[in-house]
Amino acid sequence: MSKTKENKGISRRNFIALAGGAAGAVALASMGLPLGWAENSPEIDVEALDLEKISTEVLVIGSGMAGLFAAVKAHDAGAKVMMVSKGRLGSSGQTPFAKGIFAYDPDTEKLSIDEFVAQVSRSALGSNNVAYTKQMAEHSLDRVKELESWGFFDSAIYNKSFRKPIEERNIPVQERIVVTHLIKEDEKIVGAAGFSIDKQKVIIYEAKSVILCTGAGGFKPNGFPIGDLTHDGTIMAYNIGAKVTGKEWNDGHPGRAENAAACYDGWGNMFEQKPGTVSIEVHHDLGVDMNYKAYVSGNSVKMGHPGEANDNAITGGPYTPAEFKRENVERKPGPDSEGGRPPRGEGKPPGGGKPPKEGGGPPGMGGNVVGGSSAGMAIHKSEGLVPINDQCESNIPGLFAAGDALGSYMSGAIYTQIGSSLAGSAVQGGVAGEAAARYSKGVKNVEISDSKIEAIQEEILAPLKREAGYSPAWVTQTLQGIMIPNFVLYIKKESLMKGALAYIEELRDHHMGKMCASNLHELRLVHETANMIISAEMKLKASLMRKESRCSHYRLDYPEMDDENWQAWINIFKGEDGTMQFEKQPFGQWPNQDIVNV
């Protein structure tokens, strides 16, 4: 046995040597890098794990802003609702860190809603879905007023205000449950399955409809508070045949060079501020332009206004429409910070105790910055399930998604209206909740077959049963080493993406199924890592397919926008043979080719 272990240890070291250089491997090993392949000694008795079955009508997965409104509105529409979350209500995903929420107030805005939608479309270079852009603006004020009545704007932490409407309605909430599977029978959704990280049990949820409010995802990048966002919803849905989109877009947030992993410190005191509302302010905030600067000039970039002198030395790179260049944008004073968006372009600290502006670097961001802080994440609302209509419905009957889990292209393939991320999640949550409640009324009882339950339980627990295997932390770090460098996803070119894809396919084929877990924390990491691997494959393949540059997708080998071929979104789905399939969906059309109307 010990001999096997030794051999595997060597092969692991060889692998690190390939990925990062032998010297690096030695250095990392001495710093407590998790073991790659090792024997597994489970701390819990897998055979003794309980199985629980719960029935509801609408199952809301995720407890951020979208989940909150999905649960509340589905309940108010008469459905029996249950919320289940990997984290805690109001304290998981990106919601707890979002401090600005857009509210379109017709009494104070100069632009009409249609003019606003048109402005977003110009910045998004046609890549937004106008129905969702408009829907967000139309409903935003109502959602903000509801949030206000629950006390949302009174505290920097949101659990209390989120709990208020949930408790008033007696909506059951299960926290710290890792949902790993969506369940489909007869082409319809019938529920989901997961496990508790505290209580040693597998839980099967029977539900007439499911709303994914699972947020976006990244590769657990350092410096951005998305360590719990691993594309779980998207990949679960993909696995049962849902179409997903938006994988080629990139969120390009930098972090501080010093202590790059400290996301709290990188954002200054923003996490401690109470949220506020934001009025119309449309940008074309790339982030990838900074990656380009760093790529061309060689190293870390000084935070500065994009119009400043040091900027002029570099030509080319990602395109920003003239109307939305930062120097042309009139900056309005006031509490107009942005949800979920820390520093992008400039290093001016926010003044007067107001929440920092979107685009404004937090205090302390004046020094050198490094990229990859949000690596693996796409633009808000661009990545996720493909909606078949403006009701947040996916191509699988009964499966809905809202917020960053839905590829609604509300903002387009670039972040446009500041604060619209949080507003969009609230609005879409409400829309999806009502739609799911309506759908559920037409569904008779659902039942999940015992054979399916048995198979899923086996899949969930397999990593605990493995006698030896790769540690999920090590696989994640290997994945990060492949995907985070800025010459892979930010400054894209065919050869390197193909190289990275070879590595990712290796992880998919030879590591994904061989990860082991000795406790429930690691079991969660195993499932998260698997989701990240599939998402990495999607990101690389979609990026290879889009042979143009547009918005937050920048190809060094195809630097121009190609309107002839690429006025289209890329949808990804699992083919009959289990392989990853791709299709184009023209901008401005629903999947059934109906025109998106405003």
Partner: protein, 218 residues
């Protein structure tokens, strides 16, 4: 002049006690490697620790400490005992509020919610003991203040005071050991030794009853 001299001498005679109950916690504080907090919070912590330590010192600033009573007169011992009791019980009474002071300074949990959370986490034995100790402490202070209005016989009152104090201090030390932010091994040893010696002094007085004689001798 002579009076001052006399007073000075009395304080001098109490010096070893203060050295133990102020000096040791101070030394332990500075020698321990506690995570640094704001000056305000560190000051409040230190004040609370010293207050608690001085309440432990009360065992030795009472009739039970025959040697001291011999040296500085019972009336003076009593005066100090009362002074420390009233002042530092007040500090300890405020310590739950000290703990939530940071919550006044941020936008997260409201001070009210924090306090409610603090005093209602009943599944923790340390907290329950803290509540017991707090109540006992309140009763000790009130009954001391209204001692003469209670119309109790002196001995009855004294026994009541001693037993209630024992309940208080045992619960309090346990509470401090289990929950105290600064309860490391060194502090725990200090508290336990002080408590054990204090209880010993008390038992010596009450079980072997030599007090009345010795007091007459004063």
């Amino acid at each position: 002049m002579g009076l001052v001299m006399k007073k000075d001498r009395r304080i001098y005679k109490m010096l070893p006690l203060f050295l133990v109950f102020i000096g040791i916690p101070l030394a332990l504080w500075f020698l321990s490697d506690f995570p640094e907090r704001s000056l305000l919070m560190d000051s409040l912590s230190l004040l609370t620790i010293l207050a608690f330590s001085l309440l432990l010192a009360q065992f030795f600033l009472a009739r039970t400490n025959r040697e001291l009573v011999k040296k500085v007169k019972m009336s003076n011992v009593l005066r100090i005992h009362k002074f420390i009791g009233y002042i530092f019980i007040s500090v300890i009474m405020l310590h739950p509020f000290f703990i939530i002071v940071p919550k006044f300074l941020d936008n997260a949990v409201s001070p009210k919610d924090a306090l409610i959370r603090l005093i209602t986490t009943f599944d923790n034995i340390g907290l329950v003991l803290g509540l017991v100790a707090y109540t006992a402490m309140l009763v000790i202070m009130i009954t001391s203040f209204f001692r003469f209005k209670l119309h109790l016989k002196y001995r009855t009152w004294r026994t009541f005071h001693a037993y209630l104090t024992s309940i208080f201090i045992v619960a309090a030390v346990w509470h401090v050991i289990s929950l105290g932010r600064h309860s490391n091994t060194a502090f725990i040893m200090f508290y336990v030794i002080a408590l054990a010696s204090g209880i010993y002094y008390l038992l010596r007085t009450y079980l072997f009853k030599p007090t009345s004689k010795s007091i007459k001798n004063v």
